[in-house]
Amino acid sequence: MSAFIVRRLFQAALVLLVMSVLVFVGIFAVGDPVEILINPDATQEQIERARVVLGLDRPLYEQYLHFLQNALQGDLGSSFVYNRPALELIFERMPATFELAAAAMLLAILIGVPLGVYAGLYPDRGSSKLIMAGSIFGFSVPSFWVGIMMIMLFSVYLGWLPATGRGEVGEIFGIKTSLATLNGWQHLMLPALNLALFKVALAIRLTRASMTEVMGQEFIRFARAKGLRERRIVWVYGFRHVMIPLVTVMAMEFGSVLAFAVVTETIFAWPGMGKLIIDSINLLDRPVVVAYLLVTALIFVVLNLLADLSYAALDPRLRASSEG
């Protein structure tokens, strides 16, 4: 088991290294930020001096090594635009994005899984078919458009919920989050729902498929032969099997939610990492883009690892094979 973890950690580190090279080459080999940041009337000499200050005159590989060295110490450069450490900017915005992503994921599971279980247990009912049709709708519809429509309907037309921004921040267990205030929830509702849309559909389909597959297995029939109550059979015998693929997929999808938050944050003006990255791309603020990509890569690698570990935790067959 521990050999497994060590191997996965090593792989993860390798992936991160490769990512750092790719990111570095990609970002630093394209575009010339000096042009953006310097007064267009600046003399050639001033431009050259700026280049030196920003370290842009060294050969590429030297820049990379310098970059890697700093990165491992936690220094990913300073933003050209804000003149603050890039990593600091990212971390400042991360809680907002995490909040949004977590709320969206939670909504997706709370709505999607029960619907999927129902559709899986009673696949021939009209309501089940409706649920499945709805799920196709859920992942077909371009979520940014739905977000716009939601704003139009709920904010502009009905006036129920605020259109943009994050609400007041309170504290839960010492963590600053807007989930702690009612105002926070009001602001969170629309963007979270919007972000959750695709994942709800995924949750429904995944749960339903797993459910129908599991409930057709022999051990379910045997459980019935024992005379167990149907409720217990569905949840303890059936659903526990469904949880395995569900948890692993959802863990990995969380990464996707974090990435897709970029769009939602843009629409709802949510002050998270996503909005930062779009702006940074447009302004060629390289350090921030690099920092974002690396942090994201790290998160993904960690999520993948967690997904693998949870799989082993949930399925006793994968644990130490030395027993028995």
Partner: protein
Amino acid sequence: MRESTRHPDAAPTKSLTASLSGLLNTPAGRNAKEFFASPVALVASLVLGSVLILAIFAPLISMQNPHDLNSIDIMDARLAPGATGWSDAYYLLGTDSQGRDMLSAILYGLRTSLIVAVTSGAIALAIGISIGLAAAYWGGRVEAILMRIVDIQLSFPAILIALVLLALLGRGIDKVIAALVFVQWAYYARTVRSAAMSELKKEYMEAARCLALSPRVILLSHLLPNSLPPIIVVATMQIASAIAIESTLSFLGLGLPVTEPSLGLLIANGFNVMMSGYYWISIFPGVALLITVISVNLMGDRLRDVLNPRNRR
């Protein structure tokens, strides 16, 4: 036993209906019959068909070319649907902030979106097929390395990869297609590989190998055609996904250039003025997008049920 003026030694002609019913009895024909048996699939196909026709013939149908700045009248900006403009032009769906006719813009936008999606899908498919077949057929180290790359790429969300690529490459339709190809190939590769692997286990593959057919013949004439069903299903879903991703990127300002407005860009423009009540600039392109993507997905869903090997008798 029809009377015929043809030469008695000539091969008998089949009537049209006989040919059609012969066609319908091929496996493909049977699948088609089953496919269209579902009312949902039928409607979706018709809708998609209409969308395709509108998109292909957009230049002929629409009243103006929204790319041609000369044909747009800025004085007609932000007119509500059904309004008539300065030059007595009738704007069925209104105009946007530049004075473009929404209907024309939507039709051209659909065209662009579909071209981008289908082109990138086709290229990604070609790449994916090559890699997937290679991995399945040669196995061993080749497969391990290829699939590792595929897995790593697939563990990153498409939107992020596309975002970064476009940030690097800049704007332009060719760059968008490139980015979409990059995002999609891995998915195709994985599907092709698993389809090919289950085909490889079958006896006809062993027979082909025993006959010492060249790998090229085996791969192209035997393995590929039989692996097609799941590939077709995935291709359908991927095209829908490509349309959605492209419009999202355009919305964010990263995709197609401003001069070739795609649906995403139209929606973005509409978003900016939405609060002032000009709702139509965002809604209509979105609806067009919605209809297209849903139709493709519904068809793909039905295709999956029809082509499911477990359903094959």
